[in-house]
């Protein structure tokens, strides 16, 4: 059971419990603010006052990040004998049409996330631009999936609902309009 993929009705409530425990510790559940903390630690305060913060007060969240790195290691190396993700047949077909032969057979598409893929400069650009949009977008919106979709909506915040609508506008545009242009075969 532990070694099989976990169903949604196990994962969702556990995520909510993690959020509640962080609140009960006097903190909050939000992963993207760590990106700013990394900037501050790297000396970004020299370029903008925005990054002049006391990073000690952010240390607890960096420990959560450290934990999630450990969790990823344990999940991948100890708990997942078969990492292939059993996505729907329809999705597999759509991805194969975009040139993703690894659909249904891996955890991440080897066409983007493998050492061989990195011999293609286009893959570097895709990954870097994707990351840039994640970092810029989450800080602009003041939160990501954890901060807005889980924490904010759990607290019935209208701003979080607007942000989540934005997440879907962007995600749907990327997958339906831009993927055929980016991954044209």
């Amino acid at each position: 059971m532990l070694y099989q993929p976990w169903p949604w009705y196990v994962a969702g409530p556990l995520i909510a419990i993690i959020m509640a425990l962080l609140i009960l510790m006097g903190k909050k559940f939000g992963m993207s603010s760590n990106l700013e903390t990394f900037c501050s630690m790297g000396g970004a305060g020299k370029f903008s006052d925005y990054f002049k913060v006391d990073t000690k007060s952010k240390r607890w969240n960096l420990l959560v990040v450290l934990g999630s790195v450990i969790g990823g290691f344990l999940g991948a190396h100890w708990l997942s004998p078969n990492p292939a993700v059993d996505i729907s047949e329809l999705t597999v077909t759509k991805l194969q049409n975009l040139g993703f032969e690894s659909a249904g057979e891996a955890y991440l598409p080897t066409e983007l996330f493998s050492m061989e893929a990195l011999s293609n400069p286009k893959v570097w650009i895709i990954l870097l631009v994707a990351g840039f949009l994640v970092g810029f977008g989450t800080r602009y919106a003041g939160g990501c999936t954890s901060g807005h979709a889980i924490s904010g909506l759990s607290n019935l915040q209208r701003p979080s609902l607007i942000a989540v609508i934005g997440f879907f506008i962007g995600g749907l545009a990327m997958v339906h309009l831009l993927f055929p242009l980016i991954f044209e075969v």
Partner: protein
């Protein structure tokens, strides 16, 4: 002691998101294609439980474990920053197939190319800090 709890909560989060495949690029693509209920089930059930827990924490006025009053501040009111920032993040989320939590988790899982995504994300946060005064908020 508290430090260990933060690390353990993160570890637990990492295992949950990895094992439920919420950290898989394929699941994010599938979600935006509306081909499976899986991701909606994860977010939906997290919310169902989350709304109840947050309501209970606020209603019961329970103190934090260290005895402080718990404050859950409201998000600052605005429209532009949430819709624009949200849309930019959505574009990146679908392309990278990972939001910030899963990015860290996938580093731990040993999917090294995700480090390029992480570098891009830190760069994105940095550039936001530089130009934020000129953006509509």
């Amino acid at each position: 002691m508290k430090n260990i709890v933060y690390i353990l909560l993160g570890t637990f989060l990492g295992i949950v998101l990895y094992k439920s495949e919420a950290a898989s690029w394929f699941r994010i693509y599938e979600m935006f294609q509306f081909d499976s209920f899986h991701m909606y089930g994860i977010i939906g059930s997290a919310l169902a439980v989350g709304v109840v827990l947050v309501f209970w924490i606020k209603k019961s006025k329970i103190k934090s474990f260290s005895g402080e009053i718990i404050q859950i501040p409201d998000k600052e009111k605005s429209f532009a920053r949430y819709i624009l920032g949200g849309t930019l993040f959505g574009l990146g989320w679908a392309l990278a197939g990972a939001c910030p939590g899963p990015i860290y988790i996938l580093v731990g899982a040993g999917n090294w190319p995700i480090i390029i995504v992480l570098v891009g994300a830190i760069l994105g946060a940095f550039v936001y800090g530089l130009v934020r005064a000129r953006l509509p908020h």
